[in-house]
């Protein structure tokens, strides 16, 4: 067990710090729509030009192939410099679609899409959840009928972030008639400009529309857009699990260590006061979350489900840090300042990507081996 930066690591950290200090945009990024896309793609293009795009991607595919320690160093400097949230409209492309294509895509798919993603020229959204299947992906019903060399897709997706400004969607649909659960699904690259697609943005409780519903009315997608084999979509969807520990989620986790410092500064709490004690607890937990982030990258997971531990700790800590900020602000929190906005956004942490309740079930059943629930 060691955390011993060599001279290369130290130089890398300084280089990252200097570049970020000079290049991080000073303004708070727009929350939604075209302005948010323009801001995010401009920032990614700038990163790409300086060699900071696709950090965890293999060099063979245009990435930087950073080692785990360099990834940690980069993201630590990234959040300390208050660079734009990694969870912007480029997130899905860089951290999910790209790695999936690298793992399972054809040469044609890779050579077309990967450069566009890295340079911020194409934005992707996810098309997994459906209205009847929030956290239960196995019950997907959106269907793609094979007609010649096309899939004809009908159905509906929901909670598709940035679908209104995306160029492509990673679409998980049922393609085998009568199939059930995880079988008979396909993972498809869906061009969002195809006829028959309707996007309806959903305003969230923070007043921002980055989610959307997407409706598919006889949308014809060439079979060449299927990634991996037809009807083998579940295993394609699972391949990115291995990449998951190296995504920009690292930035979100480390960012809480910066956020808690901001709350501590905001509070200026007297030693021993209830607020000071509360903030000390949160500071300790943010430190532990950082330690967990290190562990995630620097030690093989004990089970494939360890991500649920991270997800749960992160989600609840993010909420509690923002709750503390709101309480400290008092009545001023009624004004929609950055803390208030982020507080409201933090409500999604225990919902999106599997609710906190589902993470607890996974931890109990898959990590601890408790008996599965009775199904009625």
């Amino acid at each position: 067990m060691r955390l011993e930066p060599d001279t290369g690591d130290v130089a890398f950290r300084l280089r990252a710090r200097e570049w970020l200090a000079e290049n991080v945009p000073r303004e708070r990024p727009p929350h939604e729509g075209r302005p948010s896309r323009d801001h995010a793609t401009a920032w990614l293009a700038r990163c790409h030009k300086a060699g900071w795009s696709g950090l965890a991607w293999p060099e063979a595919h245009g990435g930087q192939g950073l080692s785990p320690e360099r990834l940690l160093i980069w993201y630590e400097e990234y959040v300390r410099a208050r660079a734009p949230s990694a969870l912007d409209c480029t997130f899905v492309a860089l951290n999910h679609a790209g790695p999936t294509l690298i793992a399972c895509g054809t040469e044609a798919q890779k050579s077309f899409h990967l450069p566009r993603i890295l340079e911020g020229r194409s934005i992707w959204c996810q098309g997994f959840s459906e209205p009847g299947a929030g956290s239960d992906l196995a019950s997907l019903r959106t269907f793609g009928r094979i007609e010649g060399d096309h899939l004809v897709v009908n159905g509906q997706k929901i909670w598709s972030s940035y679908a209104d400004i995306a160029d492509y969607q990673e679409l998980l649909i049922r393609t085998e008639p009568g199939s059930r659960r995880h079988k008979g699904l396909s993972w498809v690259i869906c061009d969002m400009n195809l006829p028959g697609i309707t996007v309806r943005p959903i305003r969230n409780m923070a007043g921002v529309s980055h989610f959307a519903e997407v409706f598919y009315d006889n949308v014809r997608i060439p079979l060449s857009c299927v990634v991996g084999a037809v009807n083998d979509g579940w295993s394609v969807a699972m391949t990115t699990l291995a990449f998951e520990r190296r995504t920009a989620a690292i930035a979100l986790q480390l960012e809480l260590s910066v956020k808690i410092e901001d709350v501590i500064a905001l509070a200026g709490a007297v030693k021993g006061s209830a607020t000071a004690e509360r903030l000390a607890d949160l500071r300790a937990e943010a430190a532990a979350l950082r330690a967990m982030t290190y562990r995630t990258l620097l030690r093989p997971p004990a089970t494939p489900f360890d991500g649920s531990l991270m997800r749960l700790v992160f989600a609840e800590l993010a909420q509690r840090i923002h709750q503390a900020a709101i309480d400290i602000l008092g009545p001023d929190a009624l004004v929609n300042g950055p803390w208030t906005h982020d507080y409201l956004e933090s409500y999604s942490e225990t919902i999106a990507g599997g609710t906190a309740e589902i993470q607890r079930n996974i931890i109990a059943e898959r990590i601890l081996g408790l008996p599965r629930e009775a199904t009625g």
Binding site: G132, S135, D136, M205, V335, N336, I351, E357
Partner: protein
């Protein structure tokens, strides 16, 4: 029985009437179909702002116990903070001898908004059209005319109900701060928070009874059940304490300040927690602005800002021990 916590026939009638009036004029759906800014006139016409005033002051002759019951119903319908400001404003106008103003507010002709002092000026909640503001501060409650006051519009939490910021004239002596109204303000705002907490539970329970995931209604999952049970216990504590505090204040019992302070300490926490759990139980749709869950949360925060400060630990406890150490 000299002790009795059942609702009297009168109380039941006034509550039934209030619920009907609120359901008609302040259905929670109004936030979705653009009727959010329902005027205060329906509440005024109902007599909500003078319910507990004596008949010679134009009131209905009920007591603050009934008024506290009414404010739970008002809170449940997420009526704007004017509903809290107005009955306080009527009282302040009367105490200041301004009977004409009192009558005008009571009748809904003069609109009053609520507000709270902050380090950066007073924050006024839904100030549009209001001629006066009732301001809660650490020193007490006061009323200020808004005539000629410059109002800076602020974006409210989650783009909810409108907010304005204003530099208001500093209050004069104690008589302009109406400390006598502070316990009543605490009681009414806490009662509204109870209503918010109850509304959030009802919404959560009805959703959990129909929404299916993994082939089952989500309300059959223990995790969801236990969230709902926690919401219910909070409501039980808060509503029992509301009754205790309202009776103590009405009857000028020596423990009134204690009971009110205990109530005010419980109310914001329970309302915010229930709203949070309601959102969580709804899952994705709960995080959207399309379901009503988030409205309860924002309303809980608005009301919580209007709870006057109190120092529960400094007050003598009614059950302080008498016996051996």
């Amino acid at each position: 029985m000299t002790f009795d916590l059942t609702l009297s026939e009168d109380q039941r009638q006034i509550l039934d009437a209030a619920h009907a009036m609120l359901e008609t004029n302040y259905p929670v759906e109004r936030f979705r179909d653009g009727r959010a800014a329902a005027p205060g006139t329906a509440l005024a016409e109902f007599g909500a702002f003078t319910l507990a005033l004596p008949e010679e002051d134009g009131g209905a002759g009920f007591t603050i116990v009934e008024e506290a019951l009414l404010h739970e119903a008002i809170g449940r319908h997420l009526a704007g903070p004017f509903s809290l400001a107005s009955p306080l404003a009527v009282r302040m106008a009367l105490m200041a001898g301004e009977t004409g103003l009192a009558a005008s507010i009571a009748a809904g002709r003069t609109a009053v908004c609520a507000g709270v002092d902050t380090a950066h000026g007073a924050l006024l909640l839904e100030p549009k059209g209001a001629a006066h503001a009732v301001i809660v501060s650490d020193e007490g409650i006061r009323m200020t005319a808004l005539d000629g006051i410059e109002l800076v519009t602020e974006t409210p939490m989650g783009h909810g109900q409108p907010l304005g910021r204003a530099r208001l004239p500093s209050p004069g002596g104690t008589d302009e701060r109406f400390p006598v109204l502070v316990p009543l303000a605490s009681l009414l705002v806490s009662a509204q928070l109870l209503g918010v907490a109850r509304g959030a539970l009802e919404l959560a329970v009805s959703y959990a009874g129909v929404r299916e995931q993994f082939g089952r209604r989500i309300g059959s999952f223990q995790a969801i059940k236990h969230h709902c049970a926690n919401m219910a216990t909070g409501i039980e504590m808060l509503s029992a304490q509301r009754d205790m505090a309202a009776i103590a204040l009405r009857d000028r019992r020596p423990d009134a300040a204690f009971q009110i302070a205990a109530l005010a300490r419980l109310a914001p926490r329970i309302a915010v927690l229930n709203a949070r759990l309601c959102i969580q139980i709804h899952g994705g749709i709960g995080f959207s602005a399309e379901a009503d869950a988030h409205l309860y949360l924002k309303h809980a925060h608005v009301l919580a800002a209007l709870v006057p400060a109190s120092d529960l630990l400094s007050l003598p406890a009614p059950l302080a021990p008498t016996g051996k150490e």
